[in-house]
Symmetry: C2
Subunit: 410 residues, 2 copies
C-alpha cells in the first residue's frame, strides 16, 4: 500500500467542513455571528484539530485562532474565518480554514516537504463588530481604543463584553512576527458565477477590489399623508427613489468593466404609512480595483447630489463612510496557484480580481499574499443556499495544498 | 356685570389645551402613544373635568372616556381623541375634546339652551393598536376577537396586556344607544394649508376621504454586493425604487383634482450594506373622496405590477391592506357650522373634504355627523411643530359651541 499520509484526503476535508456546518446549522447553511455560541464552538473545534497538524494552538485576545509550528525552514501562513453572515452559507470562511488545516496536516509531517504551513482563523471577517478586526489586529492596525469602541451591529453589545463573556478578556492579541512568514495564502468560494459559467475549477486572484461606502441623506418635510396636497409635498422618500433610479441610469456610462454598486439599506423617517417621509437615508457602496474609476463615479455622485439640491424640493448630502484601496496579490503566488492548477486541475483556472473583501487584503499590507477561488453554484453568496460541488471542493483542496508546497519550496 | 357663564371662555379653552400639552410634552408638541402613562393621565384629566359640565364620567373597557348627561331634551355627542402620534403636535385630538368640553360647560347649565352636549374622547384614533378602535367599538364594529388580536405597532404589546396594566381589563365597552343622540360633531385642526393660505378661519367638512392602503412586495435574488456582476443582478430594492418613480410619473395623468398618494414605509431585505436586497416591501396609500378615481388608480397600479412581472428581473405583488369608503358629512350640520361662522367669524369659512381620517367617519355610520376645521400654521401635521394661532383656536371654539346650540335647537 502506498503511504498516503502526505496527500490530500478529500473525504477528510469534506468531513471537516460538514462538522463545522453542524455547529450552528441553519437549513443547509449556518448562522454563526461573531462570538455567538456556535462561533466560539467552531473556534474551539479548530484549536482541538491543530495539534494533528503538528501545530500549537492559541486563541488570542480578539478571537483569532493561530496554529504555530516549531519546524525549521520557511513558514507559510494560511487561513480564513469561521464566523458567518446571518443565516448564510456553510463554506464562506470555513473552506479556507479547512484547506489550511489540510495543508498543515499533509505538509508539516512530510519529510520531503520544505518548512511548514501555519494556520489562522481570523475573527470577525464578516464585520459583525467592525471591519476585518481579527486580521487587522494581527497586522497591527487595531488599537485598544478601537476594541473599546467596537459594538455588534445587530445587538449593540460591546466587543469588550462579548470577549469577557467567552473568557477571552485580558488575553494578548497576537501580532505578526516580522520575517516569520514567506507570505499568506487564502482559499475562498468565488461568491460569483464567473468560474461556474465558464466550466472552470480555480480562480487565481489578481487583486482584491477596494470598497467605497457612502451614506446619502435626503431631507424633505414630514407631513400628513392625507391633508398635504401633492404639489405642496417635500417627500424625502421619493427624492431617494429618484436618486436610486438616476444612479442606475447614469453609472453605466462612467463605470469600468467590472465596477459594481449597491444600495443595500434604505430607511424612511418616520416610516409610517400615513406620514410623508421627512427624512430618508440610503447606504451606497461602490467596488472596483481601479481607484481612477472610483474617482470618476464619486465625482458623478457629487454632481447628482448638487443637482438634487439645486432642483429641490428636498435637499441631499453625501457622506463618505469608508474608503478602501484595492490590494494587489503577489505575482509569484499567482504563478504557484496556476502551476498547481495545471498539475492537478487540467489548467481549468482563470486570473480574476476579487469583488469581495477578504482577510488577505489585510495580510497583503505586511507580506506577500495570494488567494485561490473555487466555484460557487449559481454564484450565490451570503445566503444559506450558497454551495459548491463536492468534487470542486476536493479539487480546490488539492490545488491549494500543492500551491502551498510550491510556495514553501521557493 | 353680564352673566358670562353661558359664553365661551377663550382663556379657559387655551388653558385646558396647554394643561393637556404639559402631560407628555415633547418640545412644543407631545408624545402620547395610546395607553402610555401620559395618555392615561390625559384621560384621567378629562374624566375629572367632566363633572364641571354636569356630566357623569366613565372610562370604558377600551379606553374611551364618555361624559353623559341626565338633562332632558336632545343630546349632541361631541369629541375627538387624546392620544397622539409619536412625537407629534399638541392640538391633533385635544382641540376637539376641549371644544366639546367647553360646549358642555356653557350649554348644559344654560336654562335657555335646548338639551345637552355629551363628551367623548375616542381611544386610539391614531392607530397605535389598530384602526379607530375606540370609535369603531362604540358603533359596534369591534369584536372581542379584534381586541384579542390588537397589538401596539411599535412595541408589539397586546392591547389586552395594556388594558390590564392600566386597570381597564374587564370593564364593559360603551356602545351607542340607538336614538340617544341627534348626531356627532367633531372639531379638528385642518392638517393642511388650505384655510391658512386663503386667510380663512373655519373649514366646513363635506366628506372624509376614503383611504386605500396597499403592500407592494418585490422579490429578486439576495446576493453578494461585491461579487455579483451588475448584469446578473436581481435587485429588489432597485425594482421598488423604479416603481416609486413610475407612480410619480403616471398617477398625475389618472388621478382626481384632490387625490393624494404616499409611500410611507420602505423595507429592504436583508438591509445590509454589502448584500444585494433579495426582497423589498413598500406601504402605499391612496386617498380620495371619489371611489371611481380610486378604481382607476388601482387599475393602473395593477397594470404597473403586471409590467414589472412581464419585464423582470424581479417579480412584484400587490396586496390590498385596507379599503375605506368615504364618509359624507350631514348637510344640516354643515349648514349649522356655516351659520355659526357667519355669526361669529365673518363667514371666513370654506366647505372642503377632509383628507385625513377621523372618528367622525365611524360615528357617521350610525348617526348624522359633522366636522369643523381650524387652520394649521404652515399646514404642518403629525409633527411636534404642528400649531394653530391662539386667536384661531378661540374663534374656532366660539363657532363650534354656536354650531352645537344651533344643532340642538333643531
Amino acid at each position: 500500500m502506498p503511504d498516503d499520509r502526505f496527500e490530500v484526503n478529500g473525504a477528510r476535508v469534506l468531513a471537516d467542513l460538514n462538522a463545522l456546518r453542524a455547529i450552528g446549522a441553519y437549513k443547509t447553511g449556518v448562522h454563526k455571528p461573531t462570538f455567538s455560541e456556535p462561533h466560539v464552538r467552531s473556534l474551539e473545534w479548530l484549536a482541538a484539530k491543530l495539534p494533528d497538524a503538528g501545530l500549537t494552538a492559541t486563541i488570542d485576545g480578539i478571537g483569532n485562532v493561530l496554529g504555530t509550528s516549531t519546524r525549521a525552514g520557511p513558514k507559510l501562513l494560511a487561513g480564513s474565518h469561521l464566523e458567518s453572515q446571518n443565516y448564510a452559507g456553510w463554506l464562506d470562511g470555513p473552506l479556507g480554514v479547512v484547506y489550511a488545516l489540510e495543508a498543515a496536516r499533509v505538509i508539516n509531517p512530510d519529510p520531503k516537504a520544505h518548512g511548514a504551513v501555519e494556520v489562522a482563523s481570523w475573527c470577525d471577517e464578516e464585520g459583525h463588530f467592525g471591519h476585518f478586526l481579527g486580521s487587522r489586529s494581527y497586522v497591527g492596525l487595531v488599537t485598544e481604543a478601537d476594541v473599546d469602541a467596537a459594538r455588534d451591529r445587530t445587538s449593540g453589545r460591546t466587543m469588550r463584553d462579548a470577549l469577557r463573556d467567552i473568557g477571552l478578556a485580558g488575553r494578548p492579541r497576537a501580532s505578526a512576527e516580522p520575517g516569520r512568514h514567506v507570505g499568506y495564502l487564502e482559499a475562498h468560494i468565488e461568491q460569483g458565477d464567473t468560474l461556474e459559467s465558464r466550466g472552470l475549477a480555480i480562480g487565481v486572484v489578481t487583486s482584491i477590489v477596494g470598497i467605497w461606502q457612502y451614506r446619502l441623506n435626503f431631507v424633505g418635510e414630514q407631513n400628513h399623508a392625507g391633508t398635504t396636497r401633492m404639489a405642496a409635498r417635500k417627500d424625502a422618500g421619493l427624492a431617494l427613489a429618484k436618486f436610486c433610479v438616476a444612479i442606475d441610469e447614469r453609472f453605466p456610462g462612467v463605470c469600468g468593466p467590472r465596477t459594481v454598486w449597491t444600495t443595500g439599506r434604505i430607511i424612511l423617517d418616520p416610516g409610517a404609512p400615513s406620514i410623508i417621509p421627512g427624512g430618508a437615508e440610503m447606504l451606497f457602496q461602490i467596488r472596483d480595483d481601479d481607484p481612477a474609476v472610483i474617482a470618476r463615479l464619486e465625482d458623478l455622485l457629487r454632481t447628482m447630489v448638487d443637482e438634487v439640491n439645486a432642483q429641490g424640493p428636498c435637499s441631499a448630502t453625501l457622506e463618505n463612510l469608508r474608503t478602501g484601496a484595492p490590494a494587489m496579490m503577489d505575482e509569484g503566488f499567482q504563478a504557484a496557484i496556476e502551476a498547481a492548477s495545471a498539475a492537478l486541475a487540467g489548467s481549468r483556472s482563470l486570473r480574476m480580481p476579487s469583488g469581495a473583501g477578504h482577510d488577505a487584503q489585510m495580510l497583503a499590507t505586511i507580506m506577500p499574499a495570494g488567494m485561490l477561488f473555487v466555484p460557487s453554484i449559481g454564484g450565490i453568496s451570503h445566503h444559506w443556499t450558497e454551495n459548491t460541488d463536492d468534487a470542486d471542493i476536493v479539487t480546490g483542496a488539492k490545488v491549494f495544498v500543492d500551491a502551498c508546497r510550491r510556495i514553501l519550496a521557493g
